[in-house]
Symmetry: C2
Subunit: 224 residues, 2 copies
């Protein structure tokens, strides 16, 4: 554990190092939660985000664990450079269908790990940064999925009464960026690009949505 908050953690948050989970972390913190931060290295090409997650967790002096789960299979453009990453897509195209960046069972694996840590800590709340733009494409970002998974979590644990909380679920990227700005999220440490380079590529779906979000929010992205 990197560092400890004086209070015992009362939640677990999936902290990727991206803009959304950093915003949820600051939102939770300012609403009285002291989340234990969990980052999962699952073989993503953009593992650079993990260094960002470290800085963000440290900024609030919260416990932080990095769990290494190298999946021995591929099947996603985020795991396998041989699978073509969508580039320069229109926002209409981004909003339809499940893209090649979908990682089979990713949120289920991540949330299960968060559940394991939460039960060990006796913390009942699990935060995740999923939101509207994701759930138009990724099946594991839809509200009915989170509801069903929460139900299974409560059937399959000793403690029960866990809640999966996704405070950004109904927000668009510009709304999230405005909220982040208001909460004082260190946006300069957030990382969105999928491509795995040292600088954001500017052409993957995640870069495109971030650019458009900052533009719509009328703010300057400190990462660019």
């Amino acid at each position: 554990m990197a560092s400890r908050s004086p209070l015992k953690p009362n939640a677990v948050i999936l902290l990727s190092g991206g803009l959304d989970s950093a915003t949820v972390l600051y939102w939770a913190y300012q609403n009285g939660y002291r989340p234990a931060c969990l980052t999962v290295q699952y073989g993503q090409i953009h593992a650079r985000e993990i260094q960002n997650a470290k800085k963000i967790a440290r900024s609030l002096k919260l416990p932080h664990e990095i769990c290494h789960v190298p999946m021995p299979w591929k099947g996603s453009a985020l795991l396998d450079r041989k699978i073509k990453m969508p580039r320069n897509r229109s926002f209409n195209a981004i909003g339809h269908g499940i893209p090649a960046t979908y990682v089979p069972a990713r949120n289920t694996i991540l949330l299960s790990l968060a559940l394991g840590w939460a039960e060990t800590l006796k913390a009942k709340t699990i935060f995740i940064g999923a939101h509207q733009l994701d759930y138009s494409g990724y099946p594991d970002c839809r509200p009915e999925y989170f509801q069903a998974l929460q139900r299974a979590f409560n059937k399959g644990t000793k403690m029960g009464r866990f809640k999966i909380v996704a405070p950004l679920l109904k927000k668009d990227k510009a709304q999230i960026i405005r909220l982040a700005h208001r909460l004082g999220v260190p946006l300069q440490w957030t990382w969105s690009c999928y491509s795995g380079g040292a600088q954001p590529c500017g052409t993957c779906d995640s870069c495109r949505l971030r650019q458009a979000g900052f533009e719509k929010a009328g703010l300057k992205d400190p990462v660019q």
Copy 2:
């Protein structure tokens, strides 16, 4: 991958190296499935079982992956030698309450990983060796938990229509051993002991249930 069956895998099985999952594997195989075998090293003290899983998967020439998921937290006698392992308990005691060997969210994490591999392989069936004796104690071995998790899996994946199949759910240990014997399971390669020694301890719950099961089935345990 250790070796490949000539047929494409049409299921994923959680293969621990124990008696139950080995029996499910042979049952599935003889019912026409060609499962891809998934073993998870999650920090269990009895990691010796993983070598057994390798032999069992190899005996049917099936693909086998070992996924290393060292959980950075403890909270179970199976993960932490400082937590007291129950010893020499009566079968009445074993059948009541959740024991110290319960691992928070274990089956949820394991089944989520199996789901990730299954979706990558386009395989719809996920086998697990959970059974009646477990579900009297472990909440993540109960039928209502598996039903709820299957529902969440089907909400949260691109492919959907997954089935979690636990063929031993309603059997007791003696019935499982008789079935294993009939199916030709290499029982000499199965490992049940929780204690992490080179020989079975004979006193942990898992050893006790195995002994009683062989006795009731009227068979000799080749491991002892």
